[in-house]
């Protein structure tokens, strides 16, 4: 062997599913002690490749080598035995167990049949200190932050002495501070000789932390590049296959009449005793994009729940197109022309076990087009409607209209929701973190759709945690801090730094309506 030994090597791996080649002769070589990014759009085959490595799927062709020796990985236990560990995108943690119990689960030390928690705790604390992974071993998972849950997952791998660590889109669920902390942890791990596979489509993070990057596109191996010799534009071109616009192309906004008028809105919190939204007032006009910015958990979610009717409000009024909808049922809001792209697409956006076509008519099934006079669904019309939306909005799925929503990739689930909400031809479009967890291609697409809605004279209320998105997409920024609107900014005149000060609560505008 001439090259430096690879910790793990996947050579010419091909994995086919009925009707699709998920991995087409993909090669991935992970050096010892490096952070290797795996980049690709949704559906590019990253997850499939990792599932092959983790033993969840068997590849039809190709081999896997560890330290230069060919190995067979038939199930996750084989992977574990080879020292391969994975932080799944959706954590595999038992919520009512302590951090410690979650770490030792499946790999417990026992003496006379009894668990040896004391020794385990010492080992966990030692690892925690060594790699800077702050956790409270006795806290229940349900009580701790997402960041600490993730650190628990990392400790789970380290506890098992895994040498090869796979991180499956680890930053999707984290706040900016937690992301920075995680990237530092990854650097520490690599410095200690662990080999890391980092699955992501966030170019900034890859540029900041990775040593090398392998790019997949539509199941094909595009190439492996050294991060030092590349840049964001090149990576995104490799990933998408064309040049990507990072800046959103949009013209001047022409605000017209008021569509949404929120006055003194107060929404109670489900988590604590205080109100999550306190006396918030603002207006959204036709033909403008108003963005609610803020750090996660400052009342943005509850504000949208109040406006969209997902939760009842305790004070104030919501008026849409001149009609008071403060206590109106959700169907009435929808019929009046409110569209809502929800924050949690699994919980509020889709019925995951329904087919795509049934999901497409969730708010419209009762219309004469879809239900006949006897109350039976008009399946034919539903099918053709769904086919049109799928075509028009480029929603990709295995079986078209009859695909079960659960089986679709996140990006295409989101596209399906956007198709449904925009095609209703709304007066008001509420979009909450519409690009969360999506790749650059999909983000670009969604931003264009939102701007197109504005240009068509719709009012758009955007809630976003991404500063880039806030600055580039919106026409007007409202900053929320601790349930109040603390500032109104013009994205053309403000800076990210100033916005950050408002978001952190360091700056406040005394505002009289």
């Amino acid at each position: 062997m001439q090259e430096a030994p690879y910790a793990i090597e996947m050579v010419n791996v091909t994995k086919r599913f009925p009707g699709i080649i998920a991995n087409d002769h993909v090669t991935l070589q992970l050096k010892k002690g490096e952070i290797h990014a795996l980049l690709g759009e949704n559906g590019a085959g990253k997850s499939t490749l990792m599932s092959v490595l983790f033993g969840l799927y068997q590849a039809e062709e190709g081999i896997i080598k560890k330290d230069g020796v060919e190995v067979k990985i038939n199930n996750p236990n084989d992977a574990n035995a080879l020292g391969i560990g994975m932080v799944h995108q959706h954590f595999k943690l038992v919520e009512c167990f302590s951090v410690l119990d979650n770490i030792i689960l499946g790999d417990e030390d026992t003496k006379h049949g009894f668990l040896q928690r004391t020794q385990a705790r010492e080992k966990v604390m030692a690892l925690s200190e060594k790699y800077g992974l702050r956790v409270n071993p006795d806290a229940m998972i349900e009580d701790i932050s997402v960041g600490m849950q993730q650190r628990t997952e990392i400790l789970k791998m380290l506890y098992r002495d895994n040498e090869i660590l796979i991180f499956d889109e680890p930053t999707a669920v984290l706040t900016p501070q937690e992301i920075e902390e995680l990237l530092q942890i990854m650097r520490n791990l690599a410095a200690e000789g662990k080999s890391i596979l980092f699955i992501s489509h966030k170019l900034n993070e890859i540029m900041s932390v990775a040593d090398r990057c392998t790019v997949l596109r539509k199941g094909k191996y595009i190439g492996t590049v050294s991060i030092a010799d590349t840049n964001k534009a090149e990576l995104s071109r490799m990933m998408v296959g064309r040049d990507v616009e990072f800046a959103v192309q949009k013209g001047e906004a022409h605000p017209a009449e008021v569509v949404l008028d929120v006055k003194d809105l107060t929404v109670p919190s489900k988590v604590h005793r205080n109100n999550a939204v306190k006396n918030v007032s603002f207006q959204v006009h036709a033909g403008e994009i108003v963005c609610i910015a803020g750090i996660d958990g400052n009342g943005q979610s509850e504000l949208v729940y109040g406006i969209s009717g997902l939760e009842s409000v305790s004070g104030g009024t919501v008026t849409m197109c001149g009609q008071d909808i403060t206590n109106a049922p959700i169907r009435r809001r929808s019929v009046l022309g409110m569209s809502h792209i929800p924050e949690d697409r699994h919980k509020h956006g889709l019925v995951l076990d329904y087919t795509l076509e049934d999901n497409m008519i969730l708010q419209r099934y009762f219309e004469p087009e879809f239900t006949n006079k006897l109350g039976f669904l008009r399946r034919k019309n539903i099918r053709s409607y769904a086919e049109r939306l799928i075509d028009q909005y480029d929603v990709r799925s295995g079986q078209g209209p009859v695909t079960v929503a659960r089986s679709m990739s996140g990006g295409n689930q989101q596209k399906a929701i956007i198709a449904r909400e925009i095609d209703k031809n709304p007066q008001l479009l509420i979009a909450v973190q519409p690009t969360r967890g999506l790749d650059v291609g999909a983000i670009e697409y969604i931003h264009r759709q939102i701007v197109a809605q504005r240009d068509a004279g719709k009012a758009v209320l955007l809630v976003s945690l991404e500063l880039d998105e806030v600055m580039t997409v919106s026409d007007r920024i409202l900053v929320m801090y601790e349930g109040e609107i603390v500032g109104e900014l013009d994205p053309k005149k403000t800076t990210v730094e100033e916005l950050g000060l408002y978001m952190a609560g360091a700056k406040k505008e005394a505002k009289g309506q």
């Binding site: 574990n80 038992v94 689960l105 499946g106 417990e108 026992t110 049949g113 668990l115 659960r406």
Partner: protein, 314 residues
Amino acid sequence: MTLLIQYTLIFASVLMLVALGGCFAERSGVINIGLEGIMVIGALGGALVLKFLPASVGAPVMVLATVVVSALFGLIFSLLLAVAAINFKADQTITGTAMNMLATAAATVAVKAMNTAASGGNDVSSDIAYTHTKDLLLVRIGGFEFNWFMVVAVLCLIAAYVALYKTRFGLRLRACGEHPQAADSVGINVYKMRYAGVLISGLLGGLGGIVYITAGVSVWKFENGVAGFGFLALAVMIFGAWHPLKIALAALLFGFCRALGNVYSGFGFLLAMNIPSVVYNMLPYIISLIVLAFTSKKSRAPKAEGIPYDKGSR
């Protein structure tokens, strides 16, 4: 007064055993509505031992044989639930309900056939009498009738607590009831653990059955099943928040209410109130309704219970 304590303890033992059984099944992720039926079958097994094993074998052998056979009967019967719910991913509530209907009917048919054959057709009842051997189960300390099964119940309680919270088995079992995908991802065989949970519930449920039919009486009519005690035990389990020690306390409360129905006539002031006896007999069931109405919202069931585990689904 001693009688009240005695009955409270014996009924509490029954409820605790069966509720602990339910606890093991549900902690592993399988709802066991079939406890009622498991009790009947366990009771049948135990009653047969008491009827046919001669009293001359002595108390220790008799107690042991009864315990082992009734537990074994319960365990075998619970295999129905395990196979249907775990292998075939059947609806657990319906399977359990079917088991309840099956158990009483099967026990009645079997005992009737046995009685008919033995008596040449004169006796077609579904009764099993064990008058001659029942005394072996008891130890009298003064006026207090102490029952060996109470010891068994306490041992089971301790064993259940230790197993669930101090051993590897318990940690894995609980993980399977909360987040089977997580358990699977660290190499735990969810199907095996759920089998273990259901079989343990069958074992304890069968044991509870024999304790129930030997409490106070020495003939059992199998047509009657176990009078809803299996369901009462489910209420105890929920009230006890799926935790062995809390289940023990809940069992004492419910056992006390049930005992009151048996012995209220011994208390002058209760008799003086002139409440019909049916009210006392209804007491545990009414209490269970009230208690569950107020506490079941707070009490948290294992998250994944009732959902068949499928390796493939995300």
